[in-house]
């Protein structure tokens, strides 16, 4: 028959003292010490506004040309928290590009990670293109008129009712670049993350890499990127010939980071 173990004397005193100290300090027992952040900027929309975008160099939130094109902070759903941004484009006018976008301009790092979460409430038939993640460049940093398009990450249909991605380079002779992972599946009805590493070097150390939900889908390395270090990054819904009408896309938890965010990363 075993006897209960009893702690006596000094050992019991120390254990009691430790317990009392833990109780006194409460949450200080095993606290979380945040020693900093590699997140350079983030937007969670939890202020129910675009303030995170407008407080920095930006083009802000834009929606054009049709009145049916809109960009609003919404509490319909959120990746984390309460709010996200709802990008709606009016696809009733065939052959016309519809635009909704949030843009960061100018003060972005030459080398960094760009991350955003998206939600497709339903499958969309893409007639011509549907851009959701975009880099622009300038041939002259100080001349706004030299801004032009560079890399687009587009939603496409891998098969009817199924969504996938393609990468589009506006400067390449062959614009559509085959992904390393053919036809990655973009989920409908659940949040997915697009992240890009962009090292905008003008020599052969340039690099651009994309991940879908943490899976690398393409890596272009060892090539010159834009002609200048200037970068514009857009979280957008720019489409042409989409069905049905309207085409709705949600975005949330956007970030620019010095290190990779990944699907489990925290931006705030």
């Amino acid at each position: 028959m075993s006897r209960p173990l009893r702690v006596r004397g000094p050992a019991r005193g120390s254990a009691v003292a430790l317990a009392l100290a833990c109780a006194a300090l409460g949450a200080s027992c095993g606290p979380d010490l945040g020693v900093g952040s590699d997140v350079l900027w983030s937007a969670t929309f939890e202020s129910n506004s675009f303030s995170e975008w407008t407080a920095v160099p930006t083009r802000g939130a834009e929606a054009f040309p049709e009145p049916g094109d809109s960009i609003v902070v919404s509490n319909d759903r959120a990746h984390d928290g309460t709010y996200s941004v709802k990008l709606t484009i009016d696809t009733s006018v065939m052959g016309e590009q519809q635009n909704t976008l949030l843009s960061r301009v100018g003060d972005l790092p030459v080398e960094g990670y760009y991350s955003a979460w998206y939600y497709l409430p339903g499958a969309v038939t893409v007639g011509t293109y549907w851009v959701i993640f975009k880099f622009r460049l300038r041939t002259n940093v100080d001349d706004e008129s030299t801004t032009t398009e560079f890399y687009d990450l587009d939603l496409v249909n891998s098969s009817p009712g199924h969504m996938s991605l393609v990468l589009y380079n506006h400067l390449a002779q062959v614009h559509e670049i085959p992904l390393d992972v053919p036809h990655p599946v973009v989920p409908v009805g659940s949040w997915f993350q697009i992240e890009s590493y962009y090292r905008n070097n003008q020599d052969n150390t340039g690099r651009i890499t994309f991940w879908l939900d943490g899976q690398q889908i393409i890596d272009i390395n060892g090539h010159p990127m834009a002609p200048t270090p200037w970068i514009e990054w857009e979280v957008c819904s720019i489409g042409k010939d989409l069905m049905p009408n309207p085409a709705v896309l949600y975005a949330d938890d956007c970030a620019v980071s010095a290190t990779r965010v990944g699907p489990t990363g925290l931006i705030r």
Binding site: L25, G30, D38, V261, G265
Partner: protein, 359 residues
Amino acid sequence: MSALSPAKSSPTRSAGLAFGYRGRVPDRVPRGVRFFAVIALWGATVPARAADPPGRLIGGTSTCPSPAAVRTEVELLVPRDQLNARLRASAGSGPIVEITDRGATFDVAAGSVREYRDEARDCAYRARVAAVFVALVIDPGAMQATRASPPPRQPRAVAPPAPPPEPTTLVSTVAEDPEPGSPQRARVRLALGVGIEGGVGADAHISQAGLGLRVVVGGGRWALAVGAMAMAPVETSIGGVAIRQWRVPADVSLRAQWAHQNSERSMLEPYAELGAAVALLRESGLDLASNATRTSAELGVRVAAGVHLTGVSRLSPFFELHGEVVPIPPAISALPRGVVGHTPLVWFGATAGAAWRMF
């Protein structure tokens, strides 16, 4: 009647102090035979000597008290000429009184063997007690010639064998101060040392060094120790995130301590400690896009073992090994990764320095 008198069957138990009789030490009987043989030869004609050599009358391996210290005390109680007469009578044999140190007890073999308990190991006092016993055995008449107060403290005579001649009074002219030149145990000790520490955890291996300060109160078997170390900030990495860590551990511990007489002038005092520890932690990111500093406390259990080398000086060097377990170490986090790891679960280290005997 002095309670020091070993002739009574239980003279000190009723005193309520840490002294009292214990069982007899049997292996001292042959020495008793030799002692009485020597006594029988007292008065015999032998060549006189100018002075009795050390160890002739009182010998033994004891360092606390030393035979020389006992001899000095005996000479305060018994006239030198009488002592020399006994010495002449014992010519050709070994010491007629033998002192043996047994740690918490000591033996005085003078015909019979008397074992005294003195856990405090007060060497000077031991010498006085032994001298009284020896004087009673050698020359009770001389003891009667002068009267004085007995020593104030009463060590416990452990084993009263055959009672020696019983005096009616005791003589003590010895001062109350400790024996000059003998090491003293500290009741309050302040220790300053240089320490190194290594921390080991699933996510971190950290080494650091610093200064430690420690106060120990208590001169008996148990003492209370309170200490702290100021470790120098160290740059390290936890979970791949470079940080600067500044840690200041402190503790309150219960110390068990012992004493072992090395020689007449030095004593080893080993100790072991168990206590509650708290450490102030200050963590700063180093190479993140935006670095931050956070401060917290971590709680743990500390164990230590060490030793003081105590001499006649108030300063004594010490060396200590210690360890600390932090059951819930703080987490280190950095965006966007979140929690990248935890501070060490176990700390171990060593400290060396000097302790000052304040009291």
